[in-house]
């Protein structure tokens, strides 16, 4: 039977709600806390396929830790986790204001995603290396990197370790396991795999952690990383932070509205799972499991951290122009700080009063660091990085043509 060909039409993915709509997460299926099983460390990707479609959650709605992923972290560990997240949030708040005050050019905060980087960092050892994006500053905060150094970088002042060369928050801190951030997305993912391969070639015990956002999984760097990580069994943890939004583009665009980001791992035979990114305990447990696999020579693990970018992408966009009003409040996985706080209170180790007190103390601590950084300078005042530094470190030894140009520039 012959039919006339029908005209084709292009499908363009769009989120369920945009400004003017009521926020709606009814399609978002959230398993109960404690439901997800914990596979053996050497489980095959095939045997845990279902975990790429479910979500590992530990803290239930009452703030109780339940299920096989409970690690029994000490109260001190939990308190320092809470403190790290609060520090990061306070730091972000101050720096956002500093940017609005014109003290720096640009800023990006981790609001709502604090648990992902802060919890993950605690499962790494000295010498392990993160290849982060711009929204994992918690790796530095939880790793004990001095806040003032971060601010020196943000202000590009005379003490900026990056000598004024990089935009704010594109930190580099080798001694703290934090690789230099590039700014063009996705490139770090394959470098993390290469770093991990290097560790394996050298017979070392160190592992790498790769970081990428939901949007950048579309880049070919992600694909190459998966191929290399699976081919060479690289000791790397492959993190995808799905915070629902790539600037104004919803996460459904990058995954074609089907499957999940974790499911991307299946084609490569990489054990893959999703975790509640707003649940400090769940992130910690899953990260520990994946890091242990890497250390045991069992190769890469893909983790999709399901979270929500509660703020704008950066100081250069206004999310109310592309997201439904109140979407952040409607986000069903709640706020990571609130949830860990509730858990500590439930354990009898914390209280609302102590929380309020801690908030004040932490803000004072951040202000103190800020005062010290600003005493050196900001982008627009005080002692700034030297323009002579433009020419330094392009190469280990300055070649003649740069010596000439530096003289011409007057330095």
């Amino acid at each position: 039977m012959h039919k006339d060909p029908q005209p084709l039409s292009l499908h363009v993915p769009e989120p369920g709600c945009r400004p003017g709509d009521a926020p709606d997460f009814s399609d978002f299926i959230i398993p109960k806390a404690g439901e997800a099983r914990k596979p053996a460390l050497d489980a095959s990707a095939q045997s845990m396929r279902d975990m790429a479609f479910s979500i590992v959650r530990v803290l239930n709605k009452d703030g109780k830790a339940v299920g096989p992923w409970v690690e029994n972290l000490s109260v001190d560990q939990l308190k320092s986790g809470l403190r790290h997240m609060m520090l990061l949030r306070a730091f972000d708040a101050r720096m956002l204001i500093a940017q609005r005050q014109g003290k720096t050019s640009f800023y990006m905060q981790s609001l709502g995603e604090e648990a992902v980087s802060c919890a993950f960092r605690m499962t790494l050892k000295d010498g392990d290396m993160n290849f982060p994006t711009y929204r994992q500053s918690g790796l530095l905060i939880a790793g004990g990197y001095p806040m003032q150094m971060m601010m020196n970088q943000i202000y590009s002042n005379a003490e900026d370790p990056l000598k004024g060369r990089q935009m704010p928050i594109l930190y580099s801190a080798k001694d703290y396991g934090y690789f230099s951030i590039s700014g063009n997305l996705g490139t770090q993912y394959i470098q993390a795999v290469g770093w991990a391969m290097g560790s394996a070639i050298a017979g070392d015990t160190k592992i790498a952690a790769a970081w990428i956002g939901d949007g950048s999984t579309s880049a070919s760097d992600f694909h190459a990383s998966m191929v290399f990580a699976s081919a060479y069994h690289a000791p790397v943890v492959l993190n995808v932070v799905n915070n629902q939004w790539a600037i104004s583009t919803f996460q459904g665009m990058a995954r074609g509205e089907v499957a999940t980001f974790a499911a991307r791992g299946h084609g490569f035979g990489i054990p893959s799972l999703r975790v509640d990114g707003n649940d400090y305990l769940a992130v910690h447990a899953v990260a520990k499991w994946a890091a242990d696999r890497a250390r045991a020579g069992l190769g890469p693990t893909l983790i999709e951290h399901v979270t929500y970018r509660a703020g704008g992408h950066s100081t250069s966009d206004d999310p109310s122009s592309y997201r439904a009003k109140g979407e952040g409040h409607a986000w069903p996985l709640g706020d990571p700080i609130e949830r860990l706080k509730t858990h500590l209170i439930m354990l009898g180790a914390w209280s609302e009063e102590r929380q309020t007190q801690a908030e004040t103390e932490i803000m004072d601590e951040v202000r103190e660091a800020q005062k010290a950084a600003e005493a050196i300078g900001t982008l627009t005042s005080g002692k700034s990085s030297s323009s002579r530094d433009i020419f330094e470190e392009v190469y280990a030894v300055m070649p003649p043509h740069l010596v000439k140009q530096r003289k011409e520039a007057g330095y």
Binding site: M129, S172, I190, Q191, S199, A231
Partner: protein, 336 residues
């Protein structure tokens, strides 16, 4: 002993790997097979599969993973099978390898060598013949090297491996087996029967950033590199002009002293390269010569290059700037 460029490159890898266990070599077909041009033959067998290995077909993956390894503390020497295939890795080279030291304030560095066969002359059409050197010389933070004979290939590669920064190492594939001078209809003298095929067995380096005067002359300076060093000599001989020929060897950093001294002496300058003309490396050389030697010049600086078209297949020899075009341009420059 006598070696081809292929053997000289293989030998450089071998010596570097024996000397420093941080040196690792990988790329497509590089391990078991020893490379499609055999430049890594025998290395996997000698040093084991974790120091010389095959990769998936992903230039992005090869260079990106090498950057991570270099940051870890190893010294990767990677092969891109043909320079024409390097573009998927371009972001990693330009935005990452080239800038890592600078952007991290020296916190991380990228000691890395990216080797790739370049240039035409093998009926490789548009995807096996390109000369992309100016895409690298335009990038701050990279060094770009192209040898023209076995002795330099070995010394320059060992210098590149010792270098603390990323080096793009372009190998003129038409020279792999002998000094091809552009006369495609004549047999080439193999390196084994050529004095420039004499390569010392020991470890030595040829410094980056130093050009070599391969033929002294008084009437005109020819600036060239790679395959065209030999083509330029043929062209000068056929034109019967007393040309001074400079093999640049390293494009960045460029040996401006040697260039300037020569042009000031001869008063004329012809630049010869295979790559397309517009915004090619010859444009940079031309600008340099006119600004530093302007009052010594007796004729306009002239470029003999590939045409600004994709590299053709069947019409290869009408595209390739062979000795006849070099000779013709030399004569023209001398008539001014």
């Amino acid at each position: 002993m006598r070696m081809t460029i292929i053997e000289a490159i293989q030998n450089a890898h071998d010596l570097a790997m024996a000397r420093d266990d941080k040196v690792v070599v990988f790329g497509e077909d590089v391990g078991f097979f020893g490379g499609v041009f055999r430049c890594t033959a025998g290395l996997q067998e000698k040093y084991g599969p974790s120091r010389c290995f095959d990769t998936p077909i992903s230039e992005l993956g090869i260079v990106g993973s090498a950057i991570g390894m270099a940051a870890y503390g190893l010294k990767p020497v990677v092969e891109i099978q043909f320079a024409d295939y390097v573009y998927p890795a371009y972001d990693q080279i330009v935005s990452e390898a080239a800038r890592l030291r600078h952007r991290s304030g020296g916190d991380f560095t990228c000691p890395l060598v990216i080797r790739m066969p370049s240039g035409g002359g093998i009926y490789g059409g548009q995807t096996h013949s390109q000369s992309p050197e100016s895409l690298f010389t335009h990038v701050a933070g990279l060094k770009t090297v192209m040898p023209s004979n076995p002795r330099d290939a070995k010394g320059l590669l060992l210098a590149a491996i010792e270098d603390p920064d990323p080096v793009i190492f372009l190998e003129p594939k038409r020279l792999y087996n002998g000094p091809f001078d552009g006369h495609h209809d004549r047999p080439i003298v193999p390196w084994k029967k050529h004095d420039l095929g004499d390569v010392a067995k020991n470890y030595y380096t040829t410094p980056l950033g130093k050009a070599e005067i391969v033929r002294a002359g008084s009437k005109v300076t020819i600036l060239t590199y790679g395959t065209m060093v030999h083509v330029a000599q043929a062209g000068a001989n056929e034109a019967g002009i007393d040309a001074e020929i400079i093999d640049l060897r390293t494009l960045i950093p460029l040996d401006t002293e040697t260039i300037e001294a020569s042009v000031k002496k001869t008063g004329r300058c012809v630049i010869v390269h295979e790559a397309t003309k517009t915004c090619g490396f010859g444009a940079e050389l031309s600008a340099l010569v006119q600004s530093s030697c302007f009052f010594y010049l007796e004729a306009p600086v002239t470029r003999v290059t590939g045409w600004d078209t994709p590299y053709p297949h069947a019409q290869e020899w009408d595209y390739f700037p062979g000795p006849a075009r070099v000779a013709q341009n030399l004569k023209k420059v001398m008539e001014v």
